[in-house]
Homo-oligomer: 259 residues x 4
């Protein structure tokens, strides 16, 4: 490991002030942001996600078909804890809208899977960076594929739409315009853990966003962390969690095929 | 991503002192330390690394054969920058000892490879945690396989001997005692980058430490960083760098087979 | 390896006839057919491939856009040999139809890529097994993703639509009915060879057929062979080849994104 | 796939006639032999396998320690069928010698593992090609890592020592001389199958032979077959099987670490 180089600010403070109470050792969210290289912008093709009538394959487990949120419960935090709290998200005109009080967690749990999900960030643009159309899809309740309105809205590249949040930069930015429906097609292989709780194979994830490859079997190092490093925690099957981030992001046509 | 919760220290400081200039947002090394799960301790077998007369395969590029350090130059920092500075490390009794003024970098550059290297942490134990027998092997000058005296010397698990430093926890801790020779056998596949400088395949590394598997084709996310997250920087072939960390760690029998 | 167990037929023949001239060493195509396990039939969703107006992403190399076959030449055999022979395939109503005199090979060569291609087996069903709606997509001119009318038409499973021909059985059979447009979305990582011409990383291919995962990063062992085993032949970039198999299979909307 | 050409033999036989010209449709072993590219010959270093006193790591399951074959039973064929038949192999001077009546199968079953095994082909050279010092290590009783005296003894490259028999050519030929002890260090990840019995992840195997990398996470396509293609058969844990091939090959220091 590298030697400790005390940050200038810390040195200055140490020298000049009584700093028993200063704790510069706190990591902040910015510490784990990466800003380059910037994935190229790609205009996706006119794809099914914008087409009425897209339907799931016959062997899919349909998690949301536009009618109700019966397959979901409320989840506080981003861990796949047990919950029987009813979900308060709005279902309207065939769309499931993220709410402000909790995330949405499937009742059913999954391992290896193909996942299809469509999302719509708000047509009326508000905020910027991570504050615009932010949500997320937590695979097995732990590993986040970022949802964000990234259309002409720069942010750190390991937090872009199509990223494995703070772990893997997407290969492209094929964002559609705010208010347009976008699609994720995700192939996910669950991690393998041994008796000691150590990861002998990482989770692997391949992601198409609007039909464009953004992750090529990216290895998932551990849990998605806002601050600090991914953690390794052995687990079995887990639910999908859709994140509430305070922005009303719509979802539709959510299905899983166990593979 | 998760919402920002201001750290208490920051809030307290902001409220209590005029600290506009304080930047507690600096990440510190501790921020990216992981402390569990702890890999099991394994006593390795009596292996060749302790045996006189171990020799490289016939197609190996021998980087150090005990006689001199002619294949190496001095390197400041842990980046594979050009250097023609002569290396000041001590060669004695067939051993190359890390010095205090620079790291050691090979003149030759490598891509995919099998690497064998033997190391010896100081017989006289001094310091603890990361301060005991610390060095490192930087693959392509960027990705560190940690060297540390981890014999009855706990540290954060993503910084243990056998770890990909701050990226991948080892599957076991087969450390030998201080002063005993230990061996690394490493299989390394270089990452692939595309025209945009994005990583389409990560580097992969498999590591045997003293004959015990400690990394199983771990995917390397990016550069080894003491503070913050791995960075993605496209590159071609790169040198090996042996880290100087202020501890006199010995090396011998260093060879590479290009694969 | 296993010991030779003489086939009964051979023994019987040996015993009953003078068979010095018998040459049982000829392998036939059937020798390398695998008939189980049979992938489950899946009815795919109503997807874009059946929708007029599907367009490629902005960074795609469009190989066929419905107007002409200018990006293609004729190819005899299934090897990526040089050719400047004009392609004799029919272009009609925006569709490129396989002909009877040659395969179609792109002028451009590719390495790692995302490939989209849509195909239509003949609406009028003729033949069965491998004789119905047979064509193929040869990645880098060497590795075939099978095209076949497999709708209620059994064949050996390593030769089904969605298979890597005679190498990898598909995970499902999401065939559409004859005459319906079907789509392939393929993520392909080219194999890596070393100086000795040996394969240090296989080609990897992930395939969605009609939106359903049929290959999950299948490792490609070598060239597609009708008789015998895949061969390892080092190569650089290579063209796409669409196979002529005597059945008039239609293609449209063919594009590649280099990744 | 390529067009079907009915084999002459079939036509002739169908006609019910003269068999001199018969070319039986039976595949023979030769059909699946590959003869190039030829892996380079490498002289391995003086390694532990030739050193007295090599011992297993403390967490290893020792399968043969030189004293007796109590952990083994007899196995007919190369499938991991149940057996309680006592093994008739000779144990002499700390070595387990393959016999002539059966293969040797462990009582214990394994999944993911690190395997160490040492072998010695007969000092007195007899036979050639596959007939010299032939044995094999069947991982999970199904997937063979070839054992062969390949020292100055050419054979088809997908059947060489270090090959995954008839599936993966080794990257080098680091054979020691007949009668010298050689070592295999093998890292094996078991394949994953889904409910339909299809393989969603292949087995992966990395192999060091005499300390030289000969397989780099080779994907195992299916069962080892002497004639025809690998088969996909879902299974759980399985035993190790050491093949009897009629040559007295010695084994010692066999241990497994579950990973």
């Amino acid at each position: 490991m590298k030697k400790i180089t005390l940050p200038l600010a810390f040195v200055a403070l140490s020298a000049g002030l009584a700093l028993a109470q200063v704790q510069p050792s706190k990591q902040t969210p910015e510490s784990t942001e990466i800003w380059e290289p910037v994935p190229p912008v790609v205009t996706p093709g006119v794809y099914s996600a914008n087409t009425a009538g897209t339907t799931p394959p016959s062997d899919a487990i349909v998690l949301f078909d536009g009618k109700n949120a019966d397959n979901w419960v409320a989840n506080k935090g981003y861990n796949p804890t047990n919950s029987t709290d009813p979900l308060q998200w709005l279902v309207k005109d065939g769309v499931l809208y993220s709410g402000k009080t909790s995330s949405a967690m499937t009742k059913q749990q999954f391992g290896d899977m193909q996942l299809h999900i469509e999302f719509q960030t708000p047509p009326k643009v508000e905020g910027n960076g991570q504050g615009r159309g932010n949500s997320g899809i937590f695979l097995q309740g732990r590993y986040e594929v970022q949802v964000l309105d990234n259309y002409q809205n720069p942010t750190y590249v390991n937090g872009m739409v199509g990223s494995i949040y703070k772990q893997a930069i997407p290969l492209a930015n094929p964002s559609r315009k705010p208010g347009e429906w976008q699609s994720y097609d995700i192939i996910y292989l669950a991690p393998k853990f041994n008796k000691a709780g150590l990861m002998i194979e990482p989770g692997y994830v391949t992601v198409l966003l609007n039909g464009v490859l953004v992750q090529n079997r990216a290895a998932i190092r551990g849990t998605t962390e806002y601050i600090g490093y991914p953690k390794v925690q052995a687990h079995g099957k887990g639910p999908l969690i859709l994140q509430d981030h305070g922005n009303p992001v719509g979802f539709r046509n959510i299905w899983v095929r166990e593979i």
